[in-house]
């Protein structure tokens, strides 16, 4: 039936592929923490079995084991224990089944550190901040970087001579290092911006003007530290793509036809943009990762900070929850970009239409 709607067919096949990737990611999320001899799951098991913990910790860990279906339960939903008091493990395949089931239900368990807060709630609190910071930065950084890269390729000369090494330098700096530098320069030495946090410490999140302005004020430094590095990296890629496009036969032909410069510039920009879009799909994971670390530097109340706190406090449910969420959002971003390319690039589009034959 889908044969008659090649576009739908394309979206469905791509979606299916991403679902497969999602399953692989979930599998990794399940198995990777179980590698190593001293892996967290075994440690928790041992702790619960040994009874060496405080009562509070014991309760949390037992709840974790039950929630994730890592141990066999008896009729009263208590952990079944062997003779020496060690919990009886469920077979790995059952653990995996339980885990996948939980993921698909959207249940990510309960945090250790903020017991009995649900992981989902912690993430829910953090996610608006992360989206507010990362979505505009990545989109603007990408656009501005591409425009600058295209200009550098088209103009060459002095502009390129100054701009290109700067962009290379930006590309060479880790996101967080630049964040630290900006923080040191503009929050410590010359304190015109706040160093940490997403809003002033004495405020309570409300929709008031004072709060919003404080938010905006705290937004500036993290924004620029991600934005500039990202734009630099994109500009380099765009510059070489554009130089390539300028050498193609269709640009030559357009010049022979006497087509206006700005039209040719548009041809070049558009055609160089498509591979850059593919590039975006591939590098979006890296960008989000880098931006998360920047959030950590600025103690920005987003996902990065939640992840850092969880890593420092061995809060496994939260770590796993965050990594899963990041994976899912990266996959979604990729999926969107994929579909976008399908619509924007007639070469791919022709392939989609032809695939229905």
């Amino acid at each position: 039936m889908l044969k008659r709607y090649p576009t739908v067919r394309y979206i469905v096949t791509r979606g299916g592929w991403y679902f497969l990737t999602f399953l692989v990611a979930v599998t990794l999320n399940f198995f990777l923490p179980r590698m190593g001899k001293s892996n967290p799951i075994d440690i928790i098991m041992a702790k619960v079995g040994g009874g060496l913990d405080t009562k509070a910790a014991q309760a949390k860990e037992e709840a974790y084991l039950k929630e994730f279906g890592l141990v066999e339960l008896d009729a009263q939903k208590n952990i079944r224990r062997s003779a020496d008091g060690k919990p009886v493990r469920t077979p790995v395949w059952k653990q995996f089944r339980n885990y996948v089931g939980m993921c698909l239900r959207g249940d990510l368990g309960t945090s250790f550190l903020n017991y009995p807060k649900k992981v989902v709630d912690i993430i829910k609190q953090a996610i608006p901040w992360t989206i507010a910071l990362q979505l505009p930065t990545i989109i603007f950084g990408w656009i501005i970087g591409n425009v600058l890269g295209a200009l550098a390729a088209y103009r060459r000369g002095i502009f390129d001579g100054v701009f290109f090494p700067l962009a290379l330098l930006a590309n060479a700096m880790p996101f967080f290092a630049f964040g630290m530098l900006l923080m040191y320069l503009f929050a410590i030495i010359w304190p015109i911006f706040p160093a940490v946090g997403g809003y002033a410490g004495n405020l309570v999140p409300t929709l008031s003007w004072t709060f919003l302005s404080s938010m905006a004020y705290h937004y500036i430094l993290p924004f620029f530290s991600i934005f500039l590095i990202l734009a630099g990296g994109q500009a380099i890629g765009m510059r070489s793509m554009c130089i390539y496009e300028l050498g193609t036969d269709y640009v030559k032909y357009a010049k022979w036809l006497g087509v206006r410069e700005n039209k040719i510039l548009m041809y070049m920009f558009r055609n160089a943009m498509l591979p850059q879009l593919t590039g975006l799909a591939l590098s979006i994971g890296q960008m989000i990762g880098g931006a998360l670390i920047t959030e950590m530097i600025f103690s920005y109340p987003g996902l990065g900070m939640a992840l850092l706190t969880a890593i420092q406090g061995n809060d496994y449910p939260v770590i796993q929850g965050c990594t899963l969420l990041v994976t899912v959002s990266v996959l979604c971003a990729n999926f969107i970009v994929d579909i976008l390319i399908g619509f924007l690039d007639p070469r791919v589009k022709a392939g989609i239409a032809g695939g229905g034959k």
């Binding site: 001293s38 700096m173 040191y184 994971g285």
Partner: protein, 278 residues
């Protein structure tokens, strides 16, 4: 050959290699000239740079210069090892897929694309946090390499698939050369400059990745790297105390190494890919 001469005429390449080999030389030979001790507390916490301690001390009173030299060595080592693992794995898979074709190629491409979209950052965190103990420098390099191979595999596959259609490969076959000999003599030389560029990029991104995971506190437990120095400085209020010598120098070192590698790569691209030349 001729191309090598062209490279040496490119100022970018010369600058890049000079800086890079400069840092390598420092990492290798500085310990012989400068007494490096990263455990001894030789002064007060956060002593500013001075005569006694060229770059001051850290929050524990350890000489920053020692830390930097040691950290530089570790970071280069991680980058090199990770780059090596990622490049070798990726190149082997890429050549195999591109040259073999058929379902083997389809399978490798599928796996590569699959792992390409799963963010490496996540995988790094998961593995690192599961290996709470025994997270040595080499292991971290291994983890980084194991997550980065996809990119090189994809790049190398595309290249080897395009070389495969060249007639000298058919001619080598009718000369009776075996597959291994064909790969070594007819394909690898063409890929060499390309693989080398991939290796440089992977080394650079290995150094950056190490800095990133060290920064979130999942770095090596047994030694210092530029990333762990930064992490320590961050955690111990170096910024607030205005102790710039605790974080600016490692930052500059990371940036300058990666910058030099980027420079080398861009200049090589310009020479090997004539279209980018002016």
């Amino acid at each position: 050959m001729k191309l090598l001469l062209n490279l040496l005429k490119t100022p970018m390449f010369v600058i890049g290699t000079t800086i890079f080999f400069g840092t390598v030389l420092v990492a290798l030979f500085a310990p012989m000239m400068y007494h490096v001790d990263i455990i001894a507390r030789v002064g007060m916490p956060y002593m500013p740079p001075g005569k006694e301690h060229l770059l001051g001390t850290n929050h524990l009173g350890v000489d920053m210069m020692s830390l930097l030299i040691k950290g530089l060595g570790s970071s280069l080592y991680v980058g090199f090892l990770a780059g090596m693992i990622a490049t070798v794995t990726g190149t082997l898979l890429g050549i195999y897929g591109g040259f073999k074709g058929g379902w083997q190629d389809d399978f490798i491409t599928l796996i590569t694309n699959l792992f390409l979209v799963i963010p490496t950052f996540v995988v790094l965190i998961l593995i690192s946090s599961s290996l709470k103990e025994g997270r040595s420098l080499a292991l971290i390099a291994g983890i980084i390499g194991a997550t980065a191979w996809t990119w090189s595999a994809r790049a190398v596959r595309a290249q080897s698939a395009s070389i495969k259609s060249r007639d000298h490969i058919a001619l080598a076959r009718v000369n009776g050369e075996g597959t291994l000999k064909i790969v070594v003599k007819q394909i690898l030389p063409y890929l060499f400059s390309y693989v080398f560029m991939v290796f440089i990029m992977q080394t650079a991104s290995g150094i950056l990745s190490e800095a990133c995971i060290s920064m979130i506190g999942l770095g090596p437990y047994d030694t210092v790297s530029l990333g762990t120095i930064l992490n320590e400085a961050m955690r111990n209020e170096a910024l607030g105390d205005g102790a710039w010598w605790a974080f600016i120098p490692p930052m500059i070192l990371i940036t300058i190494i990666v910058f030099a590698l980027n420079f080398i790569n861009t200049s090589m691209e310009g020479v090997f890919n004539p279209r980018l030349r002016k």
